[in-house]
């Protein structure tokens, strides 16, 4: 190991390199730092002026760039998953608010939103992306199915209750039917 002190510019460069190389795996980091240190020391041994030292370091290029070249190829930026599911789910919820027709359209749409949302969630978790929208899509899809069905049940309930009041309406009809029974008595009297 060389014990002679290096030119301060070279030391500064190596310090910057060490900092930038933190992000590399330990073995790659050690290898890169060792190689570049050896390279710089070779160059310094041949340098006769500060200009030579500057040229040496400039030719190497910025430590950030070198570390970037050494880093494993970056995975594509994780995208947000489930945009389709969310949009579908929200539209389904809104349509589901429309009476009767709403339920017919909203329920299949809600099912679709849930299916797509679940699939997107799985993909998102596997690829390390954000699954918030997909989860929202599943939730919206669920609401889109449940709410119209609740309305539908309420409407059916109203219809059933309405048919009870029509039993009351039959009352007068029965009274009217009884009425003719009175008349024969009237007919007998004059006879």
């Amino acid at each position: 190991m060389s014990t002679s002190t290096r030119h301060p510019l070279a030391e500064a460069y190596l310090a910057e390199l060490a900092r930038a190389a933190q992000r590399l795996p330990r073995r790659e980091r050690a290898e890169l730092v060792a190689e570049l240190t050896a390279h710089i020391d070779e160059g310094l041994a041949r340098a006769t002026s500060e200009a030579d030292v500057r040229n040496l370091l400039d030719a190497l290029g910025p430590p950030q760039e070198i570390v970037a070249a050494a880093a494993p190829s970056p995975t594509p930026a994780p995208r947000s998953y489930g945009q389709t599911a969310l949009i579908l789910g929200v539209i389904a919820v809104v349509i589901g608010l429309l009476p009767l027709v709403g339920a017919v359209v909203a329920v299949p749409m809600g099912i679709a939103a849930i299916v797509i949302g679940v699939r997107e969630r799985r993909e998102g978790r596997r690829d390390g992306g954000s699954t918030a929208m997909a989860t929202g899509g599943v939730a919206a899809g669920g609401i889109a199915i449940v709410v119209p069905l609740v309305f539908l049940l309420a409407a059916l309930g109203a219809v059933i209750v309405g048919s009870d009041s029509s039993v009351v309406e039959e009352g007068p009809i029965i009274d009217v039917e009884r009425a003719p029974e009175v008349e024969p008595e009237l007919e007998v009297l004059p006879g």
Partner: protein
């Protein structure tokens, strides 16, 4: 405008050919890092940042195309020597053939050689 085009194009071409140029430099004999980097840097347009050659050399080693040994040198600091392996030689030969064929084709289409080149 031409200068911008030249830079972008050269970067692309360089990306594919550089590792094989390194192998070519090692064909005759082993070389140490500083020497390799300087040779490449001296060849016009081959490297922008000399430091990035080292990660490239690292990849050549993981790919099995070169082996490395540190050797102490009386001239100064220890040196890391790179030697071409058999698979490295095969890869170099394959690229040489491919490059000849490819550059001939490009030359022809650019009208740089051959008669009857379509324009």
């Amino acid at each position: 405008m031409r200068h911008m085009v030249r830079e972008a194009v050269t970067a692309q071409l360089r990306r594919g050919a550089l590792e094989f140029c390194v192998l070519g430099l090692l064909e005759e004999r082993e070389r140490y890092g500083f020497e390799l980097v300087r040779l490449l840097g001296a060849t016009d347009g081959m490297v922008t940042s000399e430091g990035t050659v080292y990660p490239l050399l690292s990849r050549l080693r993981t790919d099995g195309y070169v082996t490395t040994t540190w050797r102490s040198s009386d001239a100064g600091p220890p040196r890391k020597y790179y030697t071409l392996t058999e698979p490295g030689r095969d890869a170099l030969d394959a690229f040489r053939d491919e490059w000849c064929r490819f550059s001939a084709a490009v030359d022809q289409l650019l009208g740089l050689r051959g008669s009857g080149a379509p324009r």
